[in-house]
């Protein structure tokens, strides 16, 4: 029924390539182990270290593979958490309406109003040692309100469809109504919200890590940038230390955003111009990234 667009293929291709690089890369390119010292401070790219070495002589290419893996893990787990919480809260609010809606949206708005970067910093500091998973959960738990708000609007519009009344008359209970009659109508939308959450989690992780608040004991794209900045790679012209992680981050975030907007095209083919959804309210990525860059 749906037709995939070229844009979708390009975006999905890039995302898949980055995923493969992070997941399978370390299994394929086994030249150096993570954490092995293979050279000196900022060695130039060479046959053995394709992208040179970093400030303590680790292979940048190896770091890049593992860093991508960490960033992706955090992105996916955080995206999953944020989407799940957002969907539950948003659906309940939109479907029940009335007092339930007001209460849930009140909470959502309060959380929305708290600058998330501050929360992230506070939680990150409080946690002391931060595992990758803990980091992902923290990111997910602070970014669900966007999804909740958008899902609520969707659920509220599905709620007015007559098929819900028909299901009620057939004796369907609230749980069955939500699972079978409301959520399926939002699936395409949830897909897009999830992709957006993943991309914003990846960027947020990078921002936090650059500030030195990344997952401890590992390497992520953000941590690579943190080291590169802290050890003056920019001033010394060691481009191989900061360009590759920046390129990967940009590529990943760009491809995810493109995937999201092409999914929009796939799910809402412009059969009839005036029927198309005006998507101005899909959960926007938290502005934390921009703030972090400014900081």
């Amino acid at each position: 029924m749906t037709r995939l667009t070229p844009r979708f293929h390009v975006a999905a291709g890039i995302v898949a390539a980055v995923l493969l690089f992070g997941l399978l890369g370390p299994l394929v390119f086994r030249g150096h182990a993570l954490g092995a010292v293979v050279g000196g401070l900022y060695d130039h790219p060479s046959g053995s270290a394709w992208l040179g070495t970093d400030n303590i002589g680790h292979d940048v290419f190896t770091n890049l593979m593992y860093g991508t893996r960490t960033s992706l893990t955090i992105g996916l787990v955080a995206g999953l958490f944020a989407t799940l919480i957002g969907v539950v809260v948003g659906t309940l609010a939109g479907y029940r309406g009335g007092a339930v809606e007001e209460a849930l949206m009140g909470v959502t708005n309060v959380i929305l109003a708290i600058p998330s970067i501050v929360v992230l910093i506070l939680i990150s500091i409080a946690l002391g040692t931060r595992s990758t998973l803990a980091m992902a959960v923290v990111l997910g738990v602070t970014s669900w309100p966007w999804t909740a708000r958008a899902v609520r609007a969707q659920a509220a519009s599905v709620r007015t469809r007559e098929h819900l009344d028909v299901a009620r008359l057939s004796g369907a209970g609230t749980f069955s109504l939500i699972c079978y009659d409301v959520v399926p109508y939002m699936l395409s939308y949830l897909c897009m919200a999830f992709v957006l959450q993943v991309s914003s989690a990846v960027l947020n992780e990078a921002a936090l890590s650059m500030l030195g608040l990344g997952p401890s004991g590992g390497v992520s794209l953000g941590i690579m940038l943190h080291w590169a900045l802290a050890w003056e790679s920019v001033r010394t012209g060691a481009w191989w230390a900061f360009v590759p992680p920046t390129v990967l981050l940009t590529l990943l975030a760009f491809a995810l955003l493109m995937l999201q907007s092409s999914l929009d095209e796939v799910f809402n083919p412009r059969l009839r111009r005036f029927v198309r959804r005006r998507r101005t309210t899909v959960a926007a990525p938290p502005p934390a990234v921009r703030k972090a860059e400014a900081a």
Partner: protein, 342 residues
């Protein structure tokens, strides 16, 4: 496949002059279900052609084919269209430029496909901008306001979300939106079915006015509602099981149907007259055939009270291209009136 029947009776020379739309040999199927089978149609400039027929006979499918909006699982098996002198072979890929500007479809049930999160005014701005580039918002809204006035819709509709409107209002809004750009040919699929009689009348008047002022070149009006067609259409084509079984000028067709199916359909129309209350009006007995495996010969045969052995052969088109019925009985009884015999 089109050796006999109306499709070949319409020589291209007859069809070309003064016609807005000439369609020939249209065939379209959902897998094995051939929902439109060798259909030929013409619509003159400034004309409203009504397509009538019972549920499931392929009217919406025909509308999709004519408006170039057929998408899987519906496949167009063949046929060609001439709209406004431009020729198009349906076996190929339809050019993008045709849809919307040349032919526009007002789909069945469109009133429920309206985006729930956009106001009517925003949709109108979208429609206009999608085709005419960056038009000021106020221009699009003025256009919308004019059309709303013509349909007796309150102006508050512009700022309303679809769920704030009643069903009848939504249908009128959709109609207004799909004619905002003045397409050459409008294909309207059951636009009045969800409307009350007063609103139907208003909609019919709007459509007639659009045609009268030349804003829309012509309309193919699909409905199951014969009384509405009586009011809106210049000519009517009656469809049965994927084929056109009778066509003719509205008054002639309604007053003197030449095909038993048309006659039966007409006799089950309920009008608010005292005799309706005293009589039991039966529908046509039996069910329409399975379009994946239609009966040979006349497709109406299993339900027809006039059927004879001859009817197992494909019936001929009796009459001329503008007024024909495909029926053996009609060929053998050219001067006899069809009495509704149910």
């Amino acid at each position: 496949m089109s050796t006999e029947g109306p499709a070949t009776d319409l020589a291209p020379a007859d069809a070309a002059a003064g016609q807005l739309l000439t369609a020939r040999g249209l065939r379209a199927a959902y897998g094995p279900t051939v929902a439109v089978d060798d259909v030929a149609l013409t619509v003159g400039t400034g004309e409203v052609l009504g397509i009538a027929g019972e549920s499931g006979c392929g009217k919406s499918t025909l509308a999709a084919v004519l408006s170039l909006t057929a998408r899987p699982p519906l496949t167009v098996l063949g046929g060609d269209l001439t709209v406004d002198g431009q020729h198009l072979d349906l076996a190929g890929r339809p050019p993008r430029t045709w849809r919307g500007g040349v032919v526009s479809l007002l789909p069945q049930g469109a009133m429920n496909a309206l985006s729930a999160t956009a106001r009517v005014g925003d949709m109108a701005v979208d429609v206009v901008r999608a085709h005419r580039g960056r038009v000021p918002r106020s221009v699009a809204l003025d256009l919308l306001a004019d059309r709303l006035d013509a349909l007796d819709l309150p102006r508050r509709v512009i700022g309303a979300y679809p769920h704030q409107l009643s069903g009848g209002m939504r249908q009128r809004v959709v109609t207004v939106l799909s004619t905002l750009l003045d397409p050459r040919l409008l294909i309207a699929d059951e636009p009045t079915s969800a409307l009350d009689v007063s609103t139907q009348r208003a909609l019919v008047e709007l459509l007639r006015e659009l045609v009268g002022r030349g804003l829309v070149g012509g309309i193919v009006f699909v409905t199951h509602d014969l009384p509405v067609l009586r009011a809106v259409a210049d000519r009517i084509a009656v469809m049965y099981a994927g084929r056109i079984v009778e066509t003719g000028p509205t008054a002639a067709l309604v007053d003197d149907p030449r095909h038993p199916y048309t006659a039966a359909l007409l006799s089950s129309v309920l009008v608010p007259e005292p005799q309706v209350r005293r009589r039991r009006i039966g529908g046509i007995r039996g069910a329409p055939p399975d379009l994946a495996d239609p009966p040979a010969g006349c497709r109406f045969r299993p339900r027809c009270s006039l059927a004879t052995d001859a009817c197992t052969d494909d019936p001929p088109a009796v009459g001329d291209p503008d007024r024909y019925a495909t029926c053996w009985w009609t060929r053998d009884h050219p001067d006899e009136r069809l009495e509704p015999s149910l």
